[in-house]
């Protein structure tokens, strides 16, 4: 392809990427550097059906003047990134300066909202991703081995968790684990403990969320691996069989190596997706036990009356940085494979 043709070919998609990806990201980064103007407060008397009280109000005119001068708000530099709702630099210093040993440091850091969200997000990402891939691979092997007649329906059924909207899926499961629900009540019966509640204990709640995440995402891995299995070189498999390899050995030495490039791709997608976990937290009402970075952004934007755009933007930028950090090892590996093959 000539250079000019290539540019003409790729031009529309570059424009779309700049418009819908690059510019929004730049605007989020800019937004995260600003906070609102200092408000001019005045004391006034408010009256209503329940009597009068003295309260403060914002002097809207004076505030509007400042806004007209600097519509973006007050420049705050990286201040938002370092405040308590995000990286909490001052709080961290204080914790390291004054603590009762390692356990206390961990507990105190976990008490900061950003680190609390980050810990669940990381645990979720690094458990759900491998679990999904393992289960997806096992399902793919299973489906590949069943007779052709039932394959269609089985594939459809295995895909269902992925088809169901995440929020609906998590709500259904949430109702089932309620102590009146099928799963909740059965567990109480099995463990003979009427107090047992999956929703009341942080550890159990984390487990439920991780199981849910695996249940929801495994079909994605299954589909990709199943497609990969269709391209297995039959002659290699047959020669392995002639050499006396059993089923396990064939999987270990033929199937898995064949699927490794696919697994890298699946891993990348899953890491990105899982790092942005959000719906199950809302669906399972698990804010008390587990929050995630995406949930923190949502929480900033859906406060009772105020929206903290700067704070949400800062968390978004930190999430993007997080995704990049997590993906770096996989990307480096892919790059190495690529250059090795090119050689």
């Amino acid at each position: 392809m000539r250079h000019r043709d290539f540019i003409a070919f790729i031009f529309p998609s570059v424009v779309a990427m700049i418009l819908f990806i690059a510019i929004p990201i730049v605007s989020v980064v800019v937004q995260s550097l600003y906070v609102e103007h200092d408000r001019v407060l005045i004391e006034v008397e408010n009256c209503g059906p329940f009597g009068c009280t003295t309260e403060t109000r914002v002097d809207a005119e004076a505030t509007a003047e400042m806004k007209a001068e600097q519509p973006l708000g007050k420049f705050n530099g990286l201040g938002t990134y370092f405040n308590r709702a995000h990286l909490a630099v001052d709080e961290l210093k204080a914790i390291f300066a004054d603590n009762d040993g390692f356990g206390d440091i961990v507990a105190q850091i976990y008490n900061l909202p950003f680190y609390k969200a980050l810990s669940f997000t990381l645990v979720y990402t690094f458990l759900v991703t491998p679990l999904c891939m393992i289960f997806g691979f096992l399902i793919a092997l299973g489906v590949n081995a069943i007779p052709k007649v039932v394959k269609g329906p089985v594939i459809f059924l295995s895909l269902l968790p992925y088809i169901v909207t995440p929020l609906i899926g998590s709500l259904i499961l949430f109702w089932m684990i309620n102590s009146d629900g099928v799963i909740g009540a059965s567990l109480q019966y099995i463990f003979n403990d009427p107090e047992l509640s999956l929703k009341a204990s942080p550890v159990l709640m984390w487990m439920v969320l991780i199981i849910y995440g695996t249940w929801h995402m495994a079909p994605f891995c299954f589909v990709v691996f199943y497609a990969g299995l269709q391209t297995l070189p039959t002659d290699t498999l047959e020669s392995a069989m002639i050499d006396g390899a059993n089923r396990w050995e064939r999987i270990r030495y033929v199937v898995i190596p064949h699927l490794v490039p696919l697994a890298t791709f699946v891993g990348l997608v899953l890491l990105m997706d899982n790092f942005r976990v959000f719906e199950p937290i809302v669906g399972f009402s698990s804010e008390a036990h587990a929050t995630s970075l995406s949930w923190a952004i949502y929480n900033d934007l859906s406060g009772q009356v105020d929206q903290l755009y700067g704070s949400a933007a800062a968390t978004s930028v930190l999430t993007m940085i997080g995704v990049l950090i997590i993906l770096t090892p996989v990307l480096i590996r892919t790059w190495r494979d690529f250059s090795r093959r090119a050689r």
């Binding site: 408000r39 004391e43 809207a60 308590r84 709080e91 929703k199 009341a200 903290l308």
Partner: protein
Amino acid sequence: MMMMKTTAASIAALVLGTGAAFADCGIESGSVRILANDFDALGIVIDEAKTCASDTVSVEANMTSEHKSLQVPALTINPAQYTVALVANNSIVPLLNDDLIRPLDDLVAEYGDSLQESQLIRVDGEVVAIAFMGNAQHLFMRSDILEEAGIETPTSYEEILEAAKVLREKGIMEYPLAAADLPGWNLAAEFVNMYLGMGGDFFEAGSAEPSINNETGMKTLEMMKALTEYMSPEYMTYDANEMKALYLADEVAIMNQWGSMVNGHIDPEGPAPEIGEATMLAPAPFVGGGATPAAALWWDGFTIAKNISDEDAAASFQAMVYGARPEVAQANPTGATWLMKDFDAPESANGVLGTAAEGARAYPMTPYMGLLHTALGAELAEFMQGSEGAEQALSDVEAAYRAAATEAGFLN
């Protein structure tokens, strides 16, 4: 033939119906565009306002629970997307902060004959909103269960704890209490209620500095935690709707529930008419020997946008006054705790009215209260689960609030 007749009759009814729907609101022309939260009582008022529509007057409404996130951007543009925003004590604040609603004094003088003085929401002497219904959380109790246990009607949280203990010891109910302790808005509202009942103030006078990390705050949290002892272990996942479901499932005996939800609990055609029959409504309980009930009072009302033509503003005001006229309250007595003139309050409104009569305080209209509310909702969860002390929780709330208030420009 029979079918024909019915059809003809329904067409006639439809024609008559639409004919009657052209109510005389005295509006010459204009466009009325309403933004509102989505619950039944507001629907009653909006449906009435819609009958003002005519060839020259258009009335549209958008009822959505996302109204709070829509209102500021929608009223900032000029002309504003909506001419009327239905608000409550808390949601009016962002509109005031950004100067998006107009003073109503002139409109009240011209078109507000049917309004009562107490319906006018004044800020610094100017009327900024017209309230038409009140709301508060108050006690819903199962009189049959209390009777069975031989308990006198509790009027304070201390008595409620004792009652719960008796109910448990007599084996009548293991978890007789419930509260909307779902982290977020609900949990914060529970704290606000209890803290008001204890007589606390949220901020240092005249400033945005929080002042909840004190003895009153500690006592508030202690009481909230003590109550959870008698709640089902999943109490941290309950909001008001979940509480209603539990109550109707015969699993709760005493709870502090929203007055606006009374109908859903005592509905004779609802899922549990016998529970509705046995329900006793009472004002919100006192706590810690305080003088005011432990519940914030709320009002719902309407505001008129600033960035619209005077013609639309007058039309909108008239339509809303018509929608919230005294006859509407009389025709729908159980619809809400109406604030209109001559409202003959039925039994179902007594919880809210009683709470107000006992001197409960209104939810603060302070510009930064929303930020504190959000901080409370997020930071009290760990204390409620027992993984953190009360003092730590309160200092976390203040720290989280400070970070948000600094970003919003209220603190330096």
